[in-house]
């Protein structure tokens, strides 16, 4: 049984070997499907529901890009990756883009040869402790045992923070957020540290959320965003401007509800350029004129995506905070569509 599959796969490998040189954009169009790397599961950001449909904040970026390029937000092959396999999956070409709450850092951008196309969530590393521990500041954590996910930037930030404050800690390495939750509740560690969004989401699922406190210190900058491989700028532009289109749509008040009306009769030239009724921005990217419109139609603009997946009305209950539009005092800011 296996031999036949090996044989078949080898035939396919031989046939496809010649066709691999083209750019990612052409590959995706030819394939008719976007291969998008996501996490194996993080509450609110990416997880399949009971019917196996992926949903979440990062998933929405994948779907928007698929809609912009292929006109269909469901033409996505979601490739689940772990913290350890995500970068090789992208570098080897198994996936076209990675939207997996990945922190934009110097070494990942430069040394691992990826291009971060933007930031879809500004996060920072925080600490959660049981209230009965009586700790009010992370600087009081001398000698604490800390649950920490391996292979992430949080691990390095933690070491830096404790060294800078000249206090000691004992790490309890763990693999996934789900495991961390259980270890923390079982008392295997005094403190759980990860991105503040993750802490809030985790705390929301506890039986008694009120017994646990988030410490005020945010010890790192964690700009999370989608990334692509170095060296394929045309494809990088497509992903970057799809994300920017979602952000700009919120700024300009274009929602999935009013987009049809806006496209038909707007007198704001930027909205017209964004939605493709004016100018030729889509053509410059190598896409249809209605690319941004399609991307926004899938899950709505940035604000709608945020509210639906991780916003205050969801069980995760994150407030916009740093992720508000720049016009509301946040950091979410898109270059102009011109």
């Amino acid at each position: 049984m296996k031999k036949s599959v090996i044989f078949g796969a080898m035939t396919v490998a031989g046939l496809a070997a010649g066709a691999a040189a083209a750019g990612t954009l052409e590959d995706v169009k030819a394939r008719g499907k976007l291969n998008c790397g996501v996490t194996t599961g993080l509450v609110g950001f990416a997880a399949p529901d009971a019917n196996g449909e992926w949903e979440g904040f990062d998933v929405a970026v994948c779907r928007a890009v698929a809609a912009a390029v292929l006109g269909d937000g469901s033409a996505v092959e979601f490739v689940p990756t772990t913290g350890k396999t995500r970068f090789t999956a992208l570098a080897s070409g198994e996936i076209d883009m990675l939207a997996r709450n990945t922190t934009w850092t110097f070494s990942r951008d430069v040394d691992l040869k990826f291009t971060f196309v933007g930031v879809n969530y500004y996060d920072g590393q925080g600490f959660m402790v049981p209230k009965e521990l009586g700790v009010s500041s992370a600087k009081d954590l001398d000698g604490a045992t800390v649950c920490i996910q391996t292979g992430t930037t949080t691990e390095l930030n933690l070491a830096d923070f404790f060294r800078a404050n000249n206090i000691s800690y004992e790490p309890v390495p763990i693999e996934t957020n789900a495991e961390a939750q259980q270890q923390y509740l079982a008392g295997a560690c005094d403190v759980y540290t990860t991105d503040a969004s993750g802490l809030a989401a985790t705390r929301a699922t506890f039986e008694a959320p009120g017994d646990h406190a988030l410490l005020p210190e945010i010890i790192s900058k964690e700009p999370l965003g989608p990334l692509v491989r170095h060296g394929d700028d045309a494809w990088g532009d497509v992903v970057r401007w799809t994300l920017n289109a979602l952000i700009t749509a919120e700024e300009l008040g274009v929602t999935s509800a009013n987009i049809g009306e806006m496209a038909a009769n707007t007198n704001n030239p930027e909205v017209a350029r964004l939605l493709g009724t004016e100018g030729n921005l889509g053509e410059m990217l190598g896409l249809d004129a209605g690319w941004a419109k399609a991307a926004i139609m899938v899950g709505g603009n940035y604000g709608e995506v945020f509210a639906k997946n991780i916003g205050e009305d969801t069980p995760i209950g994150l407030s916009r905070g740093l992720n508000a539009q720049w016009t509301n005092g946040g950091l979410i800011y898109s270059p102009p569509f011109r």
Partner: protein, 432 residues
């Protein structure tokens, strides 16, 4: 003494006294308890301590299970329904059972296909496991891999058919030449099978024939306990023949073959399985053009099979070493050649000795298939750790899910273990 009259004895019992029941302390449950539970003070103390522990565990878990909620949309709703009482939230099992068994991407309208393959598996395995059954049933065992492939992956019916034709061609060449020379028959069989597949690849245009095609399911969509079963069954059944070959190779007099086998076994045993899995998932994709690599499932099967066969080879080598030298000499003195003596004299005895070891490796291997969750394949444990615990509804349910996983694995592994014990009793010909 002879004049002694019979009357001098006052009373002669002519009937047996009806036997009295033994004292209540020496019979029935009390005796059993005295002998087995309270024989000495220390014994009694240990019994009481053990009873306390059993009570403590049951008093915690039984109400938790009995209070279990089987119908609820989310963990939060479960907690509302329990209203502070201790109780399990089995609703996660009733809502997500199909994902636990089949993975979250396998199309739900064709669950019958892997289920049918699973049922057929028992019919295929029966003649191998219970050799009192008629030998003709082995034909179905031989066909099963192709049927199972077609059922689980779907696609064109010609793919498994071509594979079957290749295997048959190989078998006939083997059967034709094996009588004169084992090596010629064996290699000739492999070559002719490969030749048929290669030629068949040209004759059959894979994607153009749609008759007899079922909906195709890519390997990436396999998951859940189905994936564990598939990996376990495939890898164990493939690693047995490879392990035997390696064990024989390691004992060979031909230095080239011997050292290849030694190096292979020692290398694979010296490397953790998880490393091999990472190589399969991460490293190999660099060696193929993007998007056209060999299927991840195949890569993982190859790696686990190599790993298991190295262990099985060592187990069988132990069995070979345990045979008295006289058996080898007896085979030689009958004029049997190497292949015949191994097949008829040595291996049947050596394999019988190795059964516990082989079963041990198989059970371990079956459980090791859960390691594929670290290379983002969604087996049973991967499903639990990833998608289900990361969903907004079920984030925070642990005991129910992992308990279910443990139950499935326990049932399977206990079954394998019971079978092996039966097999040992059945094969016990040495009248010890």
């Amino acid at each position: 003494m002879s004049d002694q009259s019979t009357n001098s004895i006052a009373f002669v019992r002519t009937q047996e006294v009806p036997s009295m029941p033994p004292p209540y302390t020496a019979a029935g449950p009390i005796r059993w308890m005295r002998e087995n539970l309270f024989a000495t003070p220390l014994n009694g103390l240990l019994t009481l301590v053990a009873l306390y522990f059993i009570y403590a565990i049951l008093s915690g878990t039984l109400p938790w299970i009995a209070n279990g909620i089987w119908d609820s949309p989310s963990l939060a709703a479960c907690r509302d329904m329990l209203d502070g009482a201790s109780g399990a939230c089995f609703a996660v099992l009733t809502e997500r059972w199909h994902q636990l068994l089949f993975g979250f991407t396998y199309p739900s309208d064709i669950y019958w296909r892997p289920t049918l393959a699973f049922v057929l598996f028992f019919f295929a395995a029966a003649p191998v496991l219970f050799f009192d059954l008629p030998r003709k049933l082995l034909v179905f065992t031989g066909l099963f891999p192709f049927i199972a492939f077609y059922l689980i992956w779907g696609g064109s019916v010609f793919t498994p058919l071509l594979a079957l034709v290749g295997v048959l061609a190989g078998y006939f060449v083997y059967a034709r030449y094996v009588a004169s020379n084992f090596a010629v028959g064996f290699l000739g069989g492999i070559i002719s099978a490969a030749l048929v597949w290669w030629l068949g690849g040209f004759v059959i245009p894979e994607h153009e024939i749609t008759e007899g095609a079922m909906r195709s399911v890519p390997s990436r969509d396999l998951g859940g306990f189905m994936l564990n079963m598939m990996l376990g069954v495939t890898c164990v059944s493939l690693s047995l023949p490879i392990g035997i070959a390696l064990a024989l190779g390691r004992q060979s007099d031909m230095p080239f073959i011997k050292y290849i086998c030694v190096v292979f076994i020692e290398f694979v045993r010296g490397v953790p399985l998880i490393t091999l899995l990472f190589v399969a998932s991460v490293m190999l994709s660099y060696f193929f053009p993007p998007g056209s690599g060999v299927d991840l499932f195949i890569r993982v099967v190859i790696m686990i099979t190599l790993f298991a066969s190295a262990y099985i080879a060592e187990v069988i080598r132990g069995g070979l070493a345990a045979l008295p030298k006289g058996q080898y000499e007896a085979a030689d003195s009958l004029g049997l050649d190497y292949a015949q003596s191994m097949r008829l004299i040595i291996l049947p005895q050596a394999l019988k000795i190795s059964i516990p070891g082989i079963v041990n490796v198989s059970v371990g291997l079956f459980k090791d298939t859960t390691l594929v969750s670290v290379i983002s394949m969604f087996d049973l444990v991967g499903m639990i750790r990833g998608p289900i615990l990361a969903s907004t509804e079920w984030n925070g349910v642990y005991w129910e899910l992992f308990g279910f996983a443990a139950l499935l694995f326990f049932v399977t592994c206990y079954g394998i273990s019971q079978y092996s014990q039966w097999l040992e009793r059945r094969l016990a010909t040495d009248h010890r």
